[in-house]
C-alpha cells in the first residue's frame, strides 16, 4: 500500500510547493501578480484532485502528516527560487521533518 502511495504523495508535495512558489512570486513580481495568483489557484485545484487520489491509498492519519512534508520542500524551494535566507532554526526544522517522514514510512 505504501509503495503505491509514493507517486501521488510526491505529486501532492511537488504541486503544493509549486503553488506556494507561485504565491511567493506574486509578491515579488508585482507586475505579473495576477498571472502568478491564477497559476497558484489552478495548482490548488490540481492539488485537491491529487490529494483525493492519495486518500484512497493511505489512512487519513498517515496521509496528513506525510503531506506536511511539503513544508520542507517549500522551505528549500523558497531558498533556491525566492532567494530567501534559511537560518539555523529552519535547517533544524527541515532535518526534523525528514526524521518524521522516515519514521512514518519505515513501517
Amino acid at each position: 500500500m505504501m509503495t503505491q502511495a509514493i507517486l501521488p504523495l510526491a505529486l501532492c508535495v511537488s504541486v503544493e510547493t509549486a503553488e506556494q512558489m507561485a504565491y511567493g512570486l506574486a509578491g515579488i513580481q508585482r507586475h505579473q501578480r495576477r498571472r502568478w495568483i491564477a497559476l497558484g489557484i489552478s495548482l490548488h485545484l490540481l492539488l485537491l484532485a491529487l490529494w483525493c487520489w492519495l486518500l484512497t491509498l493511505l489512512p487519513l492519519g498517515v496521509a496528513v502528516p506525510l503531506a506536511g512534508a511539503s513544508y520542507l520542500t517549500i522551505a528549500l524551494a523558497s531558498w533556491v527560487i525566492l532567494r530567501e535566507r534559511v537560518n539555523r532554526r529552519c535547517w533544524i526544522g527541515i532535518v526534523t521533518i525528514v526524521v518524521g517522514v522516515a519514521l512514518i514510512t519505515s513501517r
Binding site: 506556494q20 511567493g24 486518500l55 502528516p65 511539503s70 517549500i74 533544524i92
Partner: protein, 139 residues
C-alpha cells in the same frame, strides 16, 4: 503589514480553535468522500467523487477556512500563525482514530510529532513566504 503592529501577547485563540476544527472537518470530509472508492479508472473516480455529498461539504468549508486564516493573519504574524495552526495534524490523526477507527502505529504518531515539531521550527523561522492559503493541505 508591519509585524511590529501586532500585539504578540494576544493570541487569537478562539480563531485558532475555529481553524483547527475547520481543518480537521475538511480532512475528515475528504476522507469520507473517497471511502470505498478506488483509483483504478481516474475518470470514474472523479465523477463518483463529484456525486459524494461529503466532497461538497469539505469544499464548502474552504472559503470559511480562508476567512478564519485571513482573520488570524490580521492579528498575528505568519511566523506565529504557522506553528500554532500546525496542531491540526495531530488533531486530525486523533479524530481519524476516533471516527474512522484508524489504527496508527507508534512510529506514525512519533513521526507526526517530529513533522509537527519541524513545521513549528520552519514556520517560526519566518522563512516561509506563503500568502495565507488556508485551503492548502498544510493548513
Amino acid at each position: 503589514m508591519n509585524p511590529m503592529l501586532y500585539d504578540q501577547r494576544r493570541l487569537p485563540i478562539r480563531l485558532f480553535i475555529l481553524l483547527w476544527i475547520l481543518d480537521v472537518a475538511v480532512f475528515m470530509s475528504e476522507k469520507a468522500a473517497v471511502a470505498g472508492s478506488t483509483f483504478d479508472v481516474p475518470a470514474v473516480f472523479y465523477i463518483r467523487l463529484l456525486h459524494q455529498p461529503w466532497w461538497w461539504v469539505g469544499l464548502a468549508m474552504g472559503p470559511l477556512q480562508l476567512w478564519v486564516w485571513t482573520a488570524i493573519l490580521r492579528r498575528v504574524a505568519l511566523s506565529v500563525a504557522y506553528p500554532v495552526s500546525s496542531a491540526n495534524y495531530l488533531l486530525t490523526m486523533a479524530a481519524a482514530r476516533l471516527v474512522f477507527g484508524e489504527q496508527l502505529g507508534w512510529s506514525v504518531w512519533l513521526g507526526a510529532v517530529f513533522i509537527t515539531a519541524g513545521i513549528v521550527l520552519v514556520g517560526s523561522s519566518a522563512t516561509m513566504h506563503r500568502t495565507g492559503s488556508a485551503t492548502s493541505l498544510a493548513g
